[in-house]
């Protein structure tokens, strides 16, 4: 199943700058998905070397930041949020 991850902030300098679709073969937690996402991004864009950026980021939907034990069991769109600096 496909998980679409929307890009924000410094992630926009990678891939198409908008999103990455990650194919996963079975349901998994967000914690497990993080590694799949990193591997997919490295494959998509050889410039991506910032594993720390992914570990400092969180995944979210439109109403909340998701916890690491959030279970991905169907196709969906998430956002990856790097460290923030609004205002």
């Amino acid at each position: 199943m496909k998980i679409r991850v929307k890009f924000f902030g410094s992630f926009r300098q990678y891939g198409n700058g908008e999103f990455l679709e990650v194919e996963i073969k079975q349901p998994m937690t967000l914690n497990e998905f993080r590694l799949h996402f990193e591997n997919s991004l490295k494959k998509e864009d050889k410039k991506f070397l910032e594993s720390a950026l992914i570990s400092d980021s969180v995944f979210a939907n439109e109403t909340q930041v998701l916890t690491n034990d959030y279970f991905l069991e169907r196709e969906m769109t998430l956002a990856i949020l790097p460290p923030v600096c609004g205002g």
Binding site: V58, E62, T63, V84, C85, G86
Partner: protein, 149 residues
């Protein structure tokens, strides 16, 4: 945009009209209105800035703003009204990036709430800044991780 009787929050790609904001959101119960106006300045960390681009995850940002505003109201000793508007897109020097208007019967609650709101926006809102410099490539700014929130 999200709102109730006491709170109005919005992310917009349009210029913030501060005069209209003060006029539209005035309430006769208020003895004090505190307006915080965040603007794009010309230097940061020794670099000459000519513009800042704001990237925003709009639906979650508006939810976060609404939650922060509700918290400010709950902490206050008197009834408050809060308006919070944040820009997205590319802004140039002097443009307002964020406006926070807090109205209350007395000034103390308004000052405290205004400060609370801007400090929370900076560490909780899904918003990112890319600075554009005179003499070098533009750069996404470092920020606060949302891990653990």
């Amino acid at each position: 945009m999200l709102k109730n009787d006491d709170i109005f929050v919005e992310v917009t790609d349009k210029k913030i009209d501060l005069g209209k904001l003060l006029e539209d959101f005035q309430h006769h119960s208020q003895g004090a209105q505190i307006l915080f106006n965040g603007v794009v300045r010309n230097t940061n960390l020794g670099k000459k800035v000519h513009a800042v681009s704001y990237d925003v995850f709009v639906p979650l940002a508006e939810e976060t703003f609404f939650t922060i505003a509700k918290e400010a109201l709950e902490k206050a000793k008197s009834p408050l009204k809060v308006v919070l508007i944040h820009r997205m897109g590319k802004l140039f020097l002097g443009e307002s990036s964020v406006a926070i208007l807090v109205g209350s019967p007395h000034r103390d609650d308004a000052y405290v709430a205004s400060r609370y709101i801007i400090e929370q926006i900076k560490v909780r809102s899904p918003i990112w800044k890319k600075e554009h410099y005179d003499d070098e490539d533009s750069q996404w700014l470092a920020g606060h991780t949302l891990k653990g929130t």
